[in-house]
């Protein structure tokens, strides 16, 4: 075995963006289908911490292989997903989770799409109500209308 320089060092030496070959090792055997599912989910949600931006499922870095092996071993030992993720977080921090946990410093992250949707919906409502009440207001000024007519003269389709 010629040990490869680990991925982090590679990233320092070579231009960034060099993804390496995909990681396909010895196929794994599981006792139950639930274990297989748990493994498949977890390796896609844990980040290879030394790579640019890859899950341990995709990464060919040795650390990723170690982490996959550990996820496999812990899964076989009957540990649940929470325990395995907890183990990794204890060692590598929240950085290792591609699914950020809901906690104080990610509250805004998880809440913001919802808040934005509420703000967007409210804006929509206000504009729509506003426009409905100015019913007498014409779409275009007279000059714009003339311009549009000129533009549309050859428009063969139906005009609203």
């Amino acid at each position: 075995m010629i040990p490869r320089v680990s991925c982090l060092l590679l990233a320092w030496l070579l231009p960034a963006g060099l993804a390496m070959a995909l990681a396909i090792g010895e196929p794994l055997e599981f006792a139950t289908e639930a274990q297989q599912r748990q493994y498949d989910t977890l390796v896609r949600e844990l980040r290879c911490t030394v790579c640019q931006s890859e899950t341990i499922h995709e990464s060919n870095a040795e650390l990723a292989a170690d982490m996959r092996r550990r996820v496999y071993a812990m899964t076989l030992a009957g540990q649940d997903a929470e325990a395995i993720v907890g183990f990794m977080v204890q060692r590598y921090g929240d950085y290792v989770r591609y699914r950020p946990p809901l906690q104080a410093n990610t509250l805004l992250l998880w809440a913001s799409p919802f808040l934005l949707l509420v703000v967007g919906g409210f804006t929509w409502w206000r504009i729509v109500v506003g426009r409905r009440h100015m019913a007498a207001y014409p779409a275009f000024t007279r000059r714009e209308r003339a311009l549009l007519d000129r533009l549309s003269r050859e428009d063969t389709g139906r005009q609203p």
């Binding site: 010629i2 040990p3 320089v5 982090l8 030394v50 650390l63 170690d66 060692r91 921090g93």
Partner: protein, 192 residues
Amino acid sequence: MNRRLLIPLVATVALLGLLYLGLGIDSRDLPSPLVGKPAPPFVLEALEDAEVTLTEQDFIGEVALVNVWATWCSTCRAEKPLLMELAQGDIPIHAFNYRDERESALRYLSVSDNPYRTIAYDPAGDAGIDWGVYATPETYVLDAEGVIRYKRIGPLTRQLLLDEVLPLVEKLRAESLREEPLGSEARRVAQS
């Protein structure tokens, strides 16, 4: 001027400020959540002798450094003279020989200096995961109770030793053995 239309302007200034701050950050500067936690347990063979079994207890007892290295890691080779100085300055250095081959590691140590007091042989990176190793080289500082107090990902430098590692070692030693400030001697060694 409509004041509401200023909102995007303000938001933009905030965003630009954030991006400027972001430029100053090394996004690969990774966290060390194990700092402040007890050294994780492990059971490994000693590098020199497969019959000897080492555990985390072999690393604990006095303030010590734990270095993760391998022969294929050129940065580790570059770092070793500094470790030698520390070892000669009487700071115990334990090590994980990480994802390496026993023969090449032993050969390497026999033809060059050996700064390590204890070397645990971790060919599969098992302890590596337990200790949260990202890449070689990495260096931990353990206090006398075996709690991880510091972690450096990447090579040590003289500046780093003087600014962070040695003062910490000195402080930890002062905490455990109040009458014997050995750290000052170590510092002299590192400066020489």
